[in-house]
C-alpha cells in the first residue's frame, strides 16, 4: 500500500500526505496552492467556474477531460495530471483558447472565464489528439468542428454576462484546427510520468481522522469495505461531494471504487454488455449509443461534460436517486445489476428490484454495486426515451420516460416502460405495460387505456421542477410519442430538439 498521493502538474510529480479524506480539489487549489484563478461559483458542479482539466492515462495516450474541482475530492487526483488556468499561458503568451476569447470579447465580469477557458482547453486537447490519431491512421476521419460540439463542451459552464455568443465563436475559432501547444509537445513525457505513477501500489492514505483508500483490486476493496462497513464509497463523487460542500458533513474516511481495474471494464459478453460500476458516463457513452442509438437522446443531457467525466453509472444506481436518468433507461432495457461482497460472493438482481423505496436500495452490509449487464437489442424491439426539463442542457429531469416495446406484425407483444421523476424510485409502469400488451398498433392512438393506466401507475409529487399534473401529462405525451414512432405509424411526433445518436458528439 502507498501512503502518499502522487499527481503530475507542469511536468513534475507532486506528493501529498496528511490531508482530510473529504478535502475538495478546489479547496486544495485555492487554499493550499494559493492559485486563485479557479473559482467557486456554486460548490455543486452546476456552474463550471471551477473547471480544471485532468490528464488521464488511456490506451491512446494521455486524455484530457474537464471536471468540476468543487465536487472532485483531492484523493481522486492520484495518478493523474492536473492542469489549471494558470498553467496555460507561457512567458506572457496566451494559449490559443485564451487569445481567441480575448479577441472575441468573450469575457465581461470575468468570473466564469477561467472555467470556460478550461472547458475550451479540454476540447482543444481532444481535437489535437483526434487530429494526431487521424494523421497516424489514414482511415480515421478528423471530424469537422461544429457549433453543437462547442455547445456540448460548454453545457456545464454558466455565464451571466456575455450571452455566450462570443465564447462559442472563440471556441470554434480556437479548436477548429488546433495547433500543437506545450502540452502536446510534452505529451510523451507526461505519459511516462503517468505510467510510472500507475504502476505504483494502490494508494491508502492515512488522514487525520480516517483514511482515503483507492484499491485497485476488487477483493481488496471488498475486504476493506467489510472491515469498515460504515465507510462511504466514492464512485465519481458528483453526488456524494455535495454532502461535503452543501450539508457540511464530515466524511472522515472514503473508499474510492474507481481505481479497481475490474470495475472499469466494458465487456461484450454473449447475452449482454457488462459495464463496470466505475465506468464513467463519458467512457460508456460510445458503447451505449452503439447498442441503443436512441439513448443518445438522453445521454448527452445527463449532467454536463464535467459531470459525465466524473460521474459513474454505478454511482448513479447505487445512490438510489428517484430522478437519476440512467436507472429508468436501464430498467426499460431489462438491465441487471451484479452486487459483490468479500470472498467472491456475487449475486445478480433485476435492476428494478434494486430500488426498494425512496432512500432504500437492496444492498446488504459490505455489498457494492459491481457491474451492470445490459442485454443486446432485439430485432423486434423499439426503444425510445424522453427527458423533460426546464432547461434543455444540464438540468435534472422533471420526468424521464423510457419505452422498450416489442412488436410482431402490427401487434405489441411486450412492453417495458420505466419512468424517473414519477415516484420515490425509478419505476416501471406496469399497468400501462399490461394495457399495451397484445394491442394492435392501429388501435393505440385514440384514448387507449394505456394512457389512463399511467394514472394508476403513478401518483407523482408536485415540487420545484414540475407539478403533479404536468408530470402525469408529460408521461402521457411521452407514451404518445413512443407509440407514434412505432413502425407503420408515419413520421412520428417530431421533437423540438433533435438530439439523435448521430448528433451526439463524444466530446468529454
Amino acid at each position: 500500500m502507498r501512503e502518499v498521493l502522487k499527481y503530475v502538474r507542469a511536468g513534475r510529480i507532486i506528493e501529498l500526505r496528511g490531508r482530510d479524506a473529504d478535502d475538495t480539489l478546489l479547496d486544495y487549489i485555492r487554499e493550499d496552492l494559493q492559485l486563485k484563478g479557479t473559482k467557486e461559483g456554486c460548490a455543486e458542479g452546476d456552474c463550471g467556474a471551477c473547471t480544471v482539466v485532468i490528464g488521464e492515462l488511456q490506451e491512446e495516450g494521455v486524455r484530457y477531460r474537464a471536471v468540476n474541482a468543487c465536487i472532485m475530492l483531492l484523493g481522486q487526483l492520484d495518478g493523474r495530471e492536473l492542469i489549471l488556468v494558470e498553467d496555460l499561458a507561457e512567458a506572457g503568451e496566451l494559449h490559443p483558447v485564451q487569445q481567441q476569447i480575448v479577441d472575441h470579447h468573450g469575457s465581461q465580469c470575468g468570473f466564469c472565464t477561467p472555467g470556460f477557458v478550461m472547458s475550451c482547453f479540454a476540447l482543444y486537447q481532444q481535437r489535437l489528439l483526434a487530429m494526431e490519431m487521424a494523421h497516424q491512421d489514414g482511415g480515421r476521419r478528423f471530424e469537422k468542428l461544429e457549433r453543437r460540439h462547442v455547445l456540448d463542451s460548454f453545457a456545464g459552464n454558466l455565464c451571466r454576462c456575455t450571452g455566450y455568443t462570443p465564447l462559442v465563436e472563440a471556441a470554434l475559432a480556437a479548436c477548429h484546427k488546433p495547433v500543437a501547444d506545450k502540452f502536446f509537445a510534452r505529451r510523451h513525457k507526461t505519459e511516462v510520468l503517468l505510467r510510472h505513477l500507475n504502476t505504483e501500489p494502490a494508494m491508502a492514505l492515512s488522514t487525520p481522522n480516517g483514511f482515503f483508500a483507492a484499491p485497485t483490486d476488487l477483493e481488496d476493496l471488498l475486504a476493506l469495505y467489510d472491515r469498515a462497513p460504515g465507510t462511504r464509497l466514492l464512485a465519481g463523487g458528483t453526488d456524494l461531494a455535495l454532502e461535503i460542500t452543501k450539508q457540511c458533513e464530515e466524511l472522515p474516511s472514503l473508499i474510492d471504487v474507481t481505481r479497481v481495474e475490474s470495475l472499469k471494464r466494458v465487456e461484450w459478453k454473449s447475452d449482454a454488455v457488462h459495464i463496470g460500476a466505475a465506468v464513467t458516463y463519458s467512457q460508456a457513452s460510445e458503447t451505449l449509443c452503439e447498442m441503443y442509438p436512441n439513448l443518445g437522446q438522453v445521454l448527452g443531457r445527463i449532467g454536463s461534460v464535467q459531470v459525465r467525466n466524473s460521474g459513474t453509472i454505478g454511482g448513479n444506481i447505487a445512490n438510489g436517486s428517484p430522478i437519476g436518468d440512467m436507472p429508468p433507461l436501464l430498467i426499460a432495457l431489462g438491465a441487471r445489476v451484479e452486487l459483490a461482497k468479500k470472498k467472491s460472493e456475487r449475486r445478480w438482481l433485476e435492476l428494478e428490484d434494486f430500488f426498494i423505496e425512496y432512500g432504500k436500495q437492496a444492498l446488504e452490509t459490505g455489498e457494492i454495486v459491481a457491474r451492470i449487464a445490459l442485454p443486446y437489442r432485439q430485432p423486434d424491439q423499439r426503444f425510445s426515451c424522453y427527458k423533460l426539463t426546464k432547461r434543455f442542457d444540464q438540468d435534472i429531469s422533471a420526468v424521464l420516460g423510457a419505452f422498450c416495446l416489442r412488436v410482431t406484425g402490427n401487434r405489441i407483444t411486450s412492453a417495458r416502460i420505466a419512468f424517473g421523476g414519477m415516484a420515490g424510485t425509478p419505476k416501471r409502469a406496469r399497468r400501462c405495460e399490461a394495457a399495451l400488451r397484445g394491442s394492435s398498433i392501429a388501435g393505440i392512438d385514440n384514448g387507449h387505456p394505456a394512457y389512463y393506466a399511467l394514472e394508476q401507475d403513478f401518483q407523482p409529487l408536485s415540487d420545484m421542477r414540475a407539478s403533479r399534473e404536468y408530470r402525469l401529462a408529460a408521461a402521457k405525451q411521452m407514451l404518445l410519442r413512443a407509440l407514434a414512432e412505432l413502425p407503420g405509424k408515419g413520421a412520428g411526433l417530431e421533437r423540438l430538439h433533435r438530439f439523435d445518436a448521430g448528433e451526439v458528439s463524444h466530446v468529454f
Binding site: G92, C109, V150
Partner: protein, 793 residues
Amino acid sequence: MSSSGIYGQGGKNTPAKVIGKALAHDSAHAHVTGAARYVDDIPEPTGILHVVPGLCRGAAVGEILQLDLTSVKNAAGVVCVLTAADIPGENDCSPGFGGDPVMAQQAISFHGQVVFAVVATSRKAARRAAKLAFLEVEKHKPVVHLREAIESSDSVLPDYAFGRGDIASGMARSVQQVELELDVGGQDHFYLEGQVAMALPQDGGALEVYSSTQHPSEVQHTVAKVLDLPESFVNVNVRRLGGGFGGKESQANQWATLAALAAHKTGRPCKCRLDRDDDMIATGKRHDFLIKAQAGVDEQGRIEAVTYDLASRCGHSADLSLGINDRAMFHLDNAYYYPEVHIKSRRLKTDSVSNTAFRGFGGPQGMLAAERLMDAVASARGRDPLDIRYANLYGQRGTTTPYGMAYEEADTLQALLSQLEARSRYRERRVAVTAFNEKGGHLRRGLALTPVKFGISFTLTELNQAGALVHLYRDGSVHLNHGGTEMGQGLYQKIAQVASQGMGVCLDKIHLAATSTGKVPNTSATAASSGTDLNAMAVLDAIGQIQARLKAFLASQSGAAVQDISFSEDQVLVKGKAVMQLAQLAKQAHQARISLSAQGFFRTPRLDWDRESASGRPFYYFAHGAACAQVLVDTLSGEMRLEAVHILQDVGHSLNPAIDRGQIEGGFVQGLGWLTSEELVFDDAGRLRTHAPSTYKIPCARDVPAAMEVELFNSAGNPEDVVNRSKAVGEPPVMLANAVFCAIGDALHSLAPGHFPQLRAPATPEEIWRCAQAQKELGGAKVLPFAHAQNGS
C-alpha cells in the same frame, strides 16, 4: 499577461482617437489567465477569520422565542458568535427606508433571515458550527405569494398613481374594450461571484473594507452606522465584481457589515463569503408583479384610454422598492402613446426576502405589460401585432408620456423599428409562420417584433451626480479614479478610452485604480445604466482642470496662445505641432508648483422630476432598441426553442462597439432567462425551493440561437450632451427579450385565434403546456391523451 500594460490592443501604438474603438476589456488578459483578482482572491492576511451567517431556516415570520448558541460557541475553531446585541450602532443595513436588520433581534420577518454570525478560524469550521444553533420561533402563517399579499393588502410603501386625461371619455371614444392580466415572475441575479467582503482593522479603530458591491459609498455609510464610527473611518475598495446586475446595489451592505463587525469585535481581519445557496436564500431578487390593464381601442386598434393597476411583491421591507415600482410605472407606455391614461401602483408586503434592484429596475415588468397589451389588442382586432404596435407608436398621435415628459425622439424609434422590420424580414417570416401553423401540427411557430424605449437617469434626482479624481504624475502617466464600479460592463475600459483621448495620453499610461470611497466620496451606486454617462463626464471635468492649468503654464512660459495648445498621444502640441513630451511639461509644471491633480464632478442637467406633483422630467434621455424573435413551441411537452433573433439597438455614438455589443447580447440572454427558464419557487411556508443552479436554471449556451444577429443602429448621436453623444446600454437590452415572450404567446395564439393566451412569465415548459392546453380547449381541440387532436384535427 504582457508587460506592455493592461491593454490587449493598447500599448505605444494606440492611436490618438480611441473613443469608438472596439478595444478589449481592460481586464481581458487577466480574466483568461485567472490573474484578475476578486475579493476572495486577495491574499489573506495572517490570522484572518471567517464569518458565516446563521440563517433562520425553520420559520418565515414570528417572534424569536429562544436562540441557544452554546453548541455553536463550543464548536471547533469558533472564535466568537455575533448577534444583534453585539452591534454598537444602529442595527440596520437598508439603503434608506430602514427595516433591514443586519441580524434579527426579536422577530423573524422572512425565511433565511440572518440571526447570528459565526466567526471562526476557517470557513469550513464556521459553516459546520452555524448548523449547531438552536432557534425557536413562534410561527405564524406567512404571506408568501403575491396574490396572498393582494388579499392581505399590507404594503411596504404607500400606493402611488399618476396619469393624464379623462379615462371615461377615452373609453367612450372606443369601439372595443381589451383587458389584460399578466403575472410576471421574479428573477435571481445569479452573479457568478457570490456576495463577499473582507474587512481589515486599521489604526485608531478605522476599517479598510474590500467588498463586491455596486455601491461602495453605501457600504461605507452602513458599516459606519452599524459600528457607530464616523464615515471617514471606513474606507471601501472595489476593483471589480464578478457580476452585479443590481444584486449588489443594496444587498452587498449586510455581508460587508458582518465582516466589519467581526473585525471590529476581534481586532483581526475578517472575511464573509456566502455559500451559493445562502446567497440565493438570503438576498433579494427582481420583483414579481401582477399587472392588470383595461384599455379602450378604436377601429384601428389604437388605444384611446387605458388604466393600469400594478401590484408588486416587495418582500418584508422597502429596500429599493420605491424607485423600482416608480420605474415600472414610467415604463408602462414603453413606446406607445396613450391619450388618456391612469396608472396605479401598490407595493405589497410579503413575509419573504426583500426584493431589490435587478437590471431594468422595474422597467422590464412594466414594458412587458405594455407589449402584452398590444398583443391582446391585436388578438381582439384580428390584426398583426406589429401593425398594432405601429398604430400606437409615439409620434403618430402624440409624444407626451403619461408622466408629462415630452418625448423627443419619436422619429428615432420609428426609424429603428422599420429598419428592424426589414432586416429581420418580419413580413416574409409572418407568412411562413402562418403557413406552418395552418398545417395544424403539435409544433407551433411564433413571431414577434417588440420595441424598447428606456428612460435614462435615476428617477431620484439627487442620485444623478458623480465624482472623479485624476492625478497626472511627472512622468506623464495618469492615475484615474472615479466613483463607478466595474462589474463586467466595461465601465473602466470605456472611461479609460475617454480619458486617454481627453487627456491626450496613450492608454498604457493610464492606471485604472480600484474604486475607493477615500478617493471619490459620497458616490451613487453604479446603476440605472448611468455609470459611463456620469463618471466619464466627471473624469473629463477633472482632466479639463489639469489641462487648463498646464496650458496656462505653458502659455506663460512659451508665449503660445492657450487656445493653440493641445495634447495628444503623450505629446504637447502647439497649433497641432508637437513641441514637447507631456512628461516634460508635467515635470516643469510641478517644479513651478502647479497642482497636477484634480477632482472632477458632474451632475446630470435638465432633471426636475417632482414626485409629489408627478410632474417634470425624470429622465435625461431615452435609449432605444428592438428585437424580432421567432420561436418553435412543442404544445405537447411545452418545450420551446428560440430559432432566430434579430436585434437593433440605439447606443448613440458608441464609445466601444465591442463592449456595447456584449451588453446587448448579454442583456438579451438575461432577459430570455427571466421570461423562460428562470423560475423562483417559494413554497407555502415561505421557503425558496430553487436556491442553487441545480434547481434555478439560467440560460446556457445552447439556449442562444446560432441565428442571433445584433446590430447597432446607425444613430445621429444622442441629442443630449452625453460623452461622445453615446447612450447608456447597461439595462435596455434586457427588455429586448420581451420579443421572445410575445413570440411564445403568438405561437399559442395560433391554437385558438382570437383567444388571447393567458401566458404567465416565466414561460417554462410547464407554463407553455398549461397555456397550450387552455388554448386547445378554447380552440375546440381535444387535449391529451387523444392523439389525433394533437395532429390538428
